[in-house]
Structures are given as structure tokens and as C-alpha cells.
Amino acid sequence: MDGFPILSALTYVPLVGAAIIFFWPRASARAARWIALGASLVSLALSLVMLAGFDRDASGMQFVEHYDWLPALGVSYHFGVDGISVLLLVLTTLLTTLAIVASWDPVQHRVREYMISMLLLETGMLGVFVSLDLFLFYIFWEVMLIPMALLIGVWGSANRIYAAVKFFLYTLAGSLLMLVGIIALYQAYFEQTGIRTLNVLELQQGNYGHSFQMWVFAAFFIAFAIKMPMWPFHTWLPDAHVEAPTAGSVLLAGVLLKMGGYGLLRFNLPLFPDAARSWAPAIMALSVIGIIYGALVALVQTDLKKLVAYSSVSHMGFVTLGIFAFNAQGLYGAMIVMLSHGLVTSALFLCVGIIYERGHTRLISRFGGLATNMPIYASFLGLFSLASLGLPGLSGFVGEFLSILGAFRAERVAGVIAFAVVILSAWYMLWMYQRVAWQRAPSEPPDPTDPEAKQAGAPHPVMGGAEADAVDPRTFRDVTWRELVTLAPLAVLTLWMGWAPQWFMDVLRPALELVASPFGRIGF
């Protein structure tokens, strides 16, 4: 295994797959699907091999590949993973594979281009997580943007162009700020040491003045906060999710949002510890606002995808809350929330996609009683809803509890307010579940034994009523094998992470201790 550039291999395999589809102009849609699946599976397999070979006790980067690229500018080709990125890497390869399976039948339009976009996106996402050179990181960061915008803009629903442009410009605005930050950092380090480098690990050794740190921190932070997305930079998310095709939503929620949190852990905290401390109160305040705000707004959504999108805003608040608590519980919590959110929210989007395929609507008010004719589907939806609302024993709880505990330890009030979300999240998730999976759909005759049956079809005082032309959910078929294949691994992982998070936490430990070291390693 020594010497084999496994990180490069797993990053570029999807690119090779994309190239094969691209240069084989007469490839049928079927062939394109299989090539894409094959490439993503190879990448997944490589990432699992890498995970198996990952030394859980070693601190620092592993599987490092470091070559000079533009030595005059200090740009190098530098890949490497630690506990933080290794898990996100596997999450990415897994979710991409599942996303390709999930779009097997639903995507019938321009399949080749679709699969090329998916594979390019995968390379971009993987590159972001393995790059240790800011130049390389920035390239991958931008590379990933284009296929995602295409996925939304070409294969999305009605208002897709607006959403794609909004997503693109919003993220680009953030990344340009980050570019300015990168250049400033590069220059500052050069002035200080006379060395031109963009190597993150080397730049961490620099000693930057406080006001410089404050500004550059902000430049990086805004880029990551937009990606995350953190309140009040979140408004692109609901639009992007609603318009994106299912697989796009899966990767957007599952992987792209994680890049914000990853960036904070990889760049902001190690590079600018003083600024991080100074900004922490403001960021924690924004996180708490986001947590509560996202949950409240999710409560009144009529569109399933919007509900999940706003719940993402709420959940990602836990990531920043945990990170800026600077203690062991907060950092572990932030990472577990990211991983868990990657599994659970992706799964929820898959679930929404499944009934969208059948009913061609995402309006909650048009569904009902799915548990009767779709019991397997309802079980999965229930499981993931419960995981999302933070039920202990499923992955969501571990992360949320730890990050709130971390916040509680660092800043009592923030922890208390953030914890109140457990009430709201139960409320909006279960209400959604009740309306989608349990009670009767508006298109059905009311239950004769139900004393409140008359009210069932009546317009809700706030949410409005059901439309007359509602689809009949009783005709929906339960999940197919293909859909089962996409949901089952996520369910297993959710349960695993809920019952045995220690496995994941062992992988994370050395990396997080390193992140916490400028902050006094509280709680380790």
C-alpha cells in the first residue's frame, strides 16, 4: 500500500469516469449510468480501503502526497487526510454512489451530461476534503460549484434557473472573499518569513497580528458560513433544495453543507485562533438564532423539501455552536452533527424524492396515510424523521447533545436556548410525519369513526387548506428494490452512529485534539 497515491486515485476516478462518458459520444443513457455507478463504486471502495488503513491513534496527516507544482509561487500538490476529513471523504463517496443509484430511473433527460456532472461534482467534493494546499483547495472549491449549479439549473424543477443562479452567485461571492483572504494570508506569511507557501500546515505556524486575524478570519468565515449555511446567509438553501433534483439535494445537504464546517475546523480555527476567540460570542449568537429560527420556520412550511431545508439551517447551527465552544464536547458534537446530518438529511431528501416520483408534488397537504400502502417507506421516513429530531439511539442525538453540552459548558445561555430546539424539532418533524404518513389524505373520504373527521379537510388557520385536485396517495407503490438500496445503508449507519458513536469518535480524537490545542484543550 505504501507509495500508492490512494487519495489521488479516489479523487480522480470519478473524473476518469466523466471523461469516458464525455469522449464516448454514442454512449447510451444506460451505459452512462453504469459507467458513473462503476466510477463512484471504485471511489467508494478506495475510500473504504483507505479508511481501513487509517491509523486511528496517529496525530497529523496521513496518506500524504506532496509534490511541488509551481515552486516559484509556493504552490504545491498536497493531499492528505486526518480524522476529520477521512470520515467526510467516506461520507462523500457513499452519498455520491447512493445519489447515482437514486437518479437511475428518475433522470431520463440528458443522462450522459447528468452523470458527467455528478462525477465532476464528486471529484470536486473529494478534492476539497483532501487538499492541504490553499491553491488546490480553492480550485476544487470552485470546480464543485459548476456541476452543482448545472444539476440544479438543468435537471431542476420549475424555478430552477433562479435557484441555480442564486446558489452560484451566493457561493461565488463567499469564495471570492475567501480568495482575498488566501492572498492576504499568503502575503502576510511571506512578509514574515520570506517563504512563499500556500501549504495549510505551514501557514499555521505563522504568527499573525490580531487585527489582521480578525479580517482574514472574517473573509474565510463568510465563505464557509454561506456554504454551511448559517443564518442569515441561508436563503439560497431553501430555493436550491426545492428546485434541485433529488440527487442534487442529497449531495447538497449531505456533502456541500459540510464543507462550511470542515473549512472552519481546517482553516479558521488553526490559522486564526485569536480571532476565533474574539469572534466566538457573535458566532455563537448567530448559531443560536439560526437553530431556533430554522426550526420555527420549518414548522410552517408547506413544501416537504423546504421543511427539510430549514431543518438543515437549524441543524447546521449546532455545528458552529459546537465548534465555537472550543471544548472537547463541542468539537466532537460538531463533527458528529455533520456526519449525522449528512446521513439523515440526505435520507430525508431521498424519501421526499420517492414520493415526488409517485405523486409529482412535494406539498405536505396532498399526502396522507402512506403508512398503509407504503409500510417500508413509512418506516424509513419515520426512522429518519426521528433521527432528525434528535431521538437518542439514532445519530442525531449524539451530535446535538454533545454540541449543546459543549456550548452549555462554554456559554450557559447559548446552550440553554439552543437546547429548546428539541421541543420545536419534535414538533415540526412529527407534524410532518403525521400529515404525510399517518392521517388520511385530503383526497380520501373522512374516517367515519373519527369525531374530528369534519375538521380533517377543513383549512388550517395558518397553513391553509388542501387543494381539491390532490393526488391519491393510496395508489402509491411501496419502495422498489433500487430505492431500498439507497435508504438501507443510511438507516444502518444512522443506527450505528446512534448506538456506537465511539467508533467514529476514536477516529476523530487525534485530529480534534489538535484543533483544540490552541484553545487549551478544554475537556480532553
Binding site: 420555527l296 472537547a328 437518542p392 452549555f408 428539541v422 399517518w438 388520511r440 388557520p461
Partner: protein, 632 residues
């Protein structure tokens, strides 16, 4: 035996998982066998483990693995059986086993049969883990897990909107309590650095008084939710939407007592905070009273029993608040028997009446359902505290405990509530089983339940009669001696109750219970008192009780509705209007500016060429003029 403790929760878990996955296609109406087997194994192992605990008088424990290792925050999964857990183990597995057997008959033919026998063992698993946990976070985990099972079982008939609504309400209201509980757990960890019971109790004395009170009150918030105390009891009556065996097991005998168990488990924390104790006692007494008044006015047979449960939980809470720990657990135990019996009996009635729950359409059922009648009567009498049934001993002890614990007012409230208890219990008995038949005899043919339902009723009624003798003589019975090691040590108040006090209260209790019986008899059998007249005379007071003290309406108006409004405002005004408006505003500004500037783009090459030429001339000109002075 310690190495076998894991079997106690594992057996029902396996049954639940297998039934859930294979039930729909393979097991179908055979699903109950596995569930019963699982719970029976659990019961058997529990008995063996408890026997060892009773013999050796040491707690057993088994470490399974470390669940969360986040730096200095380590949460082990360790199962511990001490005397308190032992009592809970027997109650939970015993009642569960009976309810499982009963459910075979009750749920027969239901399309969700397999689902029922997946959720019910899952509940047993969660509840057992809850009582076996050795630290607060594990307790919290299964605290929520039993809430989940409760949610699934309340919403069992999910097509009914009211059931779906009630399930969600139960979960969300419980989450309000869990919010407090969780904060309490965090506060314990932040101050003490551990969550394991032994470690926490050993250090609790070192904390400042304010902190202890805060921890105790936050923990009690959890108990308020789970054990349906004021002001969060509103979910429990609605929870009656679930199948009746569920009401018996979860919403009477076991899950709702988790709050009581938790407070008793945390007694060193509570004992160290007199203020918290006072709050617990007041809330308990208020709950006991308010729920009893509501119970007097309801017509739904299950709702009356449900309010009775709330009221009895109030008794347990004020016993805890008076430091009468053993009395609370004693009442919990006896209550498990007679309340499960009452619910199963009510279920038997409902079953016989083809899902009729309104007592105004019953009456005279004694003739049709003799076995149900007698067992229900025993349960009612036990609940009412008629000598010498189980409820008498435990309720008496609770009231005495409050009295000698320095809470005379609470004790008196308890006595008043006892009068109501007796009155509403016998009201149910008389309305349901005595008097004229008020149902349509042509369409409804009441029939006695099958043996599979009758046997659990009989076993439970034996318990309802004799369980009380575990606590005889008061304060020195088997039960007390068994639990003594748990509730002794630093901070434990020991009250020596004189025989005179015991006797006096015994007599008063009996008199009160008989008075309630007499009133019910006068009102509902003899007709000497007209309930309608009394209700009219009481006017607003009656309405207050009948409308459940307007708790639901108040929450709806003060919390639920404003929150919706706020959310809609946040979404439409803040999110779409302000934040997204700002984003789109920037985009709009750029667009606006660009629209002005694009006029320059005429599309005529000549214009562009002219611009280039002029530009060149200007640049060169400036260079010549400025440059010429610059370089001189």
C-alpha cells in the same frame, strides 16, 4: 447472575426487532408468541437477579461498553440492579407479561397485530433499560425511547386523525419536560464532571445550595412531563387514543411512573434541596387534587381512569416531595397492579361494547360481564383505598408520609383528593355495571372476554388485593426493609411514625373512602342525590372541572397559536421579506446599474473604434502633458 443482566432488556429487544422486520410478511398473527417469549425470559431473569439482590443485599452491575467517549465526558452503558431497580424490574416485566397476554385477545384480528407486538416489546426493552441505567444520560436516552414507544402506540391507529394528533402531542409535551431534564443532566456534568449515580450522589453535598436546587428542579421538570404532573399532564388523557392494553401498561403502570422512579433514584439531590422538595410536594398535591376533580366529571370510561392515574401520580409526587421515598415507590407498585387492572377491565368493557367508551351508553353490565365486573370492582376499591386492599396501605402511607414530613396541608389535600378518588371510582362502577342498560340491546350484545383476556385480569386482581400486604405493618413491612439500603445514608430523613398516628390516619382514610363510596351509591344507584342538580348548583366550578381546567385552551391560545403566528411572520416577513429581500435587492441594484450602462453598448463597430481612438488620444495626451512635467 450479574453477567446475565443484559438478557433482561435484550430478550424483548430481539422480539421487537424480529417482529418489526418479519412480522408483516411472515409472522403476521403469530407475532405475539415471540413477544411473549421475550418478555417472559426477561421476567424470569429479573426474578433470578432480584432474588440474588435480595439475598446478598448488594447491587449487581454489568458493564457493556462505553457509549460516548468525548474527552472527559464518558458515558458507559452499564446495567445496575439495586433494590430500587429490582422493584421496578419486577413491576415492569410482570405487568408487561400480563398485558402482552391480554393483548393477544384484545388485538386479535387487528391488521396491525404484528406492529403492536413489535412496539410493545420495544417499549419493555426501553423501560427496562431506563430502570437499569447507572447514569443520567443513559436514563435520559431511554427516557426518550419510552416516549417514542408511547408515541408509536398512541398513534397505533394512525389513520384516525385524533390518534395521530394525540401521539404528536404526547411526544412534544414530553419533550418540554425533557428539555428541562436534559439541562439538568448537563448542569450535573458541568459541575460534577460525571453522570454516574454513585459519583453524583457522593459529590452532591459539595455543591452550593442554589445549584443543587437548580439541578433538582430541572430534573423534576422531566418528571413533570413524563409523570403527567401539572402543568404538563395534558398529554396523558389524550393518550387514551391508543389501544387499551397500551394505556394499561404504558400510561398507567410503567412509563408514567418513570418520573417518580427518577426522582426517587435522585433522592440525594432532592433531599439536599428543601426548596425543590417543597416544589415537588406542591405540584404533586395540586396534580392529585386537580386531576381528581376532573375525573369526577368525565363520561369516557378510559378518561376517568386516565385522570385517576394523573391523580395517583400526584400522590406519588407529593410523597417524594415530603421525603417519603419508600411510600412513593410502594404506591407506585400497588398502583401498577390496580391501575393496570382497571384499564384492562375498562378494555374488556369497551371490547364487549364494540368500542363504546361513553358511560352514558352503558349500565347494567354486571349481568353480562360478571368476571370483568368483579375484577373491576376490586381494582376500583383498591384505587379508592378501601381497607384492606393494596391501595389502602400505600395511599395511607403516602398521606402519613406527607403529614410527618412536615407538610400537613399537602396531607389534607391528599385526603380531599382521596374522597374524590373514591367517589369517581365508584361512579364508574355504578354507571357502567349497575342500573338500567342504556345501550341499544338490539345492536350491542355484550359478551364476556375470552380466557386469554380474563386470566391477566384475575392475576392482577390478586395483586390488587394482596400487594398492599408487602407494606404491612406500615414502615416496617417487607417492602420497606428491602428498599432500606437505597434510601439510607447521608441526608435521609428518618421519621418515626407513632402507632397512634398510623392508626388515626388509617381510620380517617377508611372513613374518607367509605364516604366516597356512599356518595357514589347515593347519587348513581339510589338517586338520592341528582348529579345534574349538583353540577348546575356548582355552575362555573363544574364547568372548570368538566373542561379540564381549560389547560388545553390556555396552551392553544398562549403558546401554540402565537408560535405559529411568529413562525409565519419569521418566514414570510423576515426570511422572504427582509433577508432574501436584501439578497435580491443587491442583485436588483446590480441589474439596475447594468441596465443604465448597457446603453453605451450600441453595437456599432464605428462607435467602438471611435472610443478606442479617443481613448488612445486621451491617454497619450495625458501622458505627454503630465509626463512631460513629471520627468523634468
Amino acid at each position: 447472575m450479574a453477567n446475565w443482566i443484559f438478557l433482561i432488556p435484550l430478550a424483548p429487544l430481539i422480539a421487537a426487532v424480529v417482529n418489526f422486520i418479519f412480522g408483516r410478511w411472515y409472522l403476521r398473527d403469530r407475532a405475539h408468541w415471540l413477544a411473549i417469549l421475550g418478555v417472559a425470559i426477561s421476567f424470569g431473569v429479573s426474578v433470578a437477579v432480584v432474588a440474588q439482590v435480595a439475598r446478598d443485599e448488594v447491587a449487581l452491575s454489568q458493564h457493556l461498553y462505553t457509549w460516548i467517549p468525548a474527552g472527559d465526558f464518558q458515558v458507559p452503558v452499564t446495567l445496575t440492579v439495586d433494590q430500587l431497580t429490582a422493584v421496578m424490574l419486577l413491576v415492569v416485566t410482570g405487568v408487561s407479561l400480563l398485558v402482552h397476554i391480554y393483548s393477544v385477545g384484545y388485538m386479535h384480528g387487528d391488521p396491525g397485530f404484528y406492529r403492536f407486538f413489535a412496539y410493545l416489546p420495544l417499549f419493555v426493552f426501553s423501560m427496562l433499560m431506563l430502570v437499569l441505567a447507572n447514569n443520567y444520560l443513559l436514563l435520559f436516552v431511554f427516557w426518550e425511547a419510552v416516549g417514542l414507544c408511547s408515541y408509536l402506540l398512541i398513534g397505533f391507529w394512525y389513520r384516525r386523525r385524533s390518534a395521530a394528533q394525540a401521539a404528536k402531542k404526547a411526544f412534544v409535551v414530553n419533550r418540554v419536560g425533557d428539555f428541562g431534564f436534559g439541562l439538568g443532566v448537563m448542569l450535573i456534568f458541568v459541575h460534577l464532571g460525571t453522570l454516574e449515580y454513585t459519583g453524583v450522589f457522593a459529590q452532591v453535598g459539595a455543591l452550593p445550595q442554589g445549584t443543587i436546587t437548580a439541578i433538582a428542579l430541572l430534573l423534576f421538570t422531566g418528571a413533570i412531563g413524563k409523570s403527567a404532573q401539572i402543568p404538563l399532564f395534558v398529554w396523558l388523557p389524550d393518550a387514551m387514543e391508543g389501544p387499551t392494553p397500551v394505556s394499561a401498561l404504558i400510561h398507567a403502570a410503567t412509563m408514567v411512573t418513570a418520573g417518580i422512579f427518577m426522582v426517587a433514584r435522585s433522592w440525594p439531590i432532592f433531599a439536599a434541596s428543601p426548596d425543590a422538595m417543597l416544589v415537588v410536594a406542591i405540584i404533586g398535591a395540586a396534580t392529585a387534587f386537580v386531576a381528581a376533580t376532573i375525573g369526577l366529571t368525565q363520561y369516557d370510561i378510559k378518561k376517568v381512569v386516565a385522570y385517576s392515574t394523573v391523580s395517583q401520580l400526584g400522590y406519588m409526587a407529593f410523597a417524594l416531595g415530603s421525603g417519603a421515598w419508600v411510600a412513593a415507590i410502594f404506591h407506585l407498585t400497588t398502583h401498577a397492579f390496580f391501575k393496570a387492572l382497571l384499564f384492562l377491565g375498562a378494555g374488556s368493557v369497551i371490547h364487549a361494547m364494540h368500542d363504546e367508551q361513553d358511560m352514558r351508553r352503558m349500565g347494567g353490565l354486571k349481568r353480562h360481564l360478571p368476571l370483568t365486573y368483579w375484577t373491576f370492582l376490586i381494582g376500583s376499591a383498591a384505587n379508592a383505598g378501601i381497607f384492606p386492599l393494596a391501595g389502602f396501605w400505600s395511599k395511607d402511607e403516602v398521606i402519613v408520609g406527607a403529614w410527618v414530613g412536615g407538610r400537613p396541608i399537602v396531607a389534607i389535600v391528599g385526603l380531599v383528593a382521596a374522597l374524590f378518588t373514591s367517589l369517581y371510582m365508584f361512579r364508574v362502577v355504578f354507571l357502567t355495571f349497575h342500573g338500567p342498560e342504556r345501550f341499544d340491546a338490539h345492536t350491542v350484545h355484550p359478551h364476556e372476554s375470552p380466557p386469554v383476556m380474563a386470566v391477566p385480569l384475575l392475576i392482577l386482581s390478586v395483586g390488587a388485593v394482596f400487594a398492599g400486604f408487602l407494606g404491612v405493618p406500615p414502615e416496617r413491612g417487607v417492602f420497606h426493609r428491602f428498599l432500606e439500603p437505597v434510601f439510607s445514608g447521608h441526608g435521609a430523613e428518618v421519621h418515626h411514625v407513632s402507632t397512634a398516628t398510623t392508626l388515626t390516619f388509617g381510620l380517617i382514610s377508611t372513613a374518607v373512602a367509605l364516604a366516597g363510596l356512599g356518595l357514589a351509591y347515593a347519587a348513581y344507584v339510589r338517586g338520592a342525590i341528582k348529579p345534574a342538580v349538583v353540577a348546575a348548583r356548582l355552575g362555573p366550578l363544574y364547568q372548570l372541572a368538566y373542561r379540564r381546567w381549560y389547560f388545553d385552551e390556555i396552551y392553544e391560545a398562549l403558546i401554540v397559536h402565537p408560535l405559529y403566528r411568529l413562525s409565519v411572520w419569521l418566514w414570510r416577513v423576515v426570511d422572504i421579506g427582509i433577508i432574501d429581500g436584501a439578497v435580491n435587492g443587491v442583485a436588483g441594484l446590480v441589474n439596475f446599474t447594468a441596465q443604465r450602462w448597457r446603453r453605451v453598448q450600441t453595437g456599432l463597430v464605428a462607435n467602438y473604434a471611435l472610443a478606442i481612438a479617443l481613448g488612445t488620444v486621451i491617454i497619450v495626451g495625458v501622458y505627454l502633458i503630465v509626463g512631460s512635467t513629471l520627468f523634468q
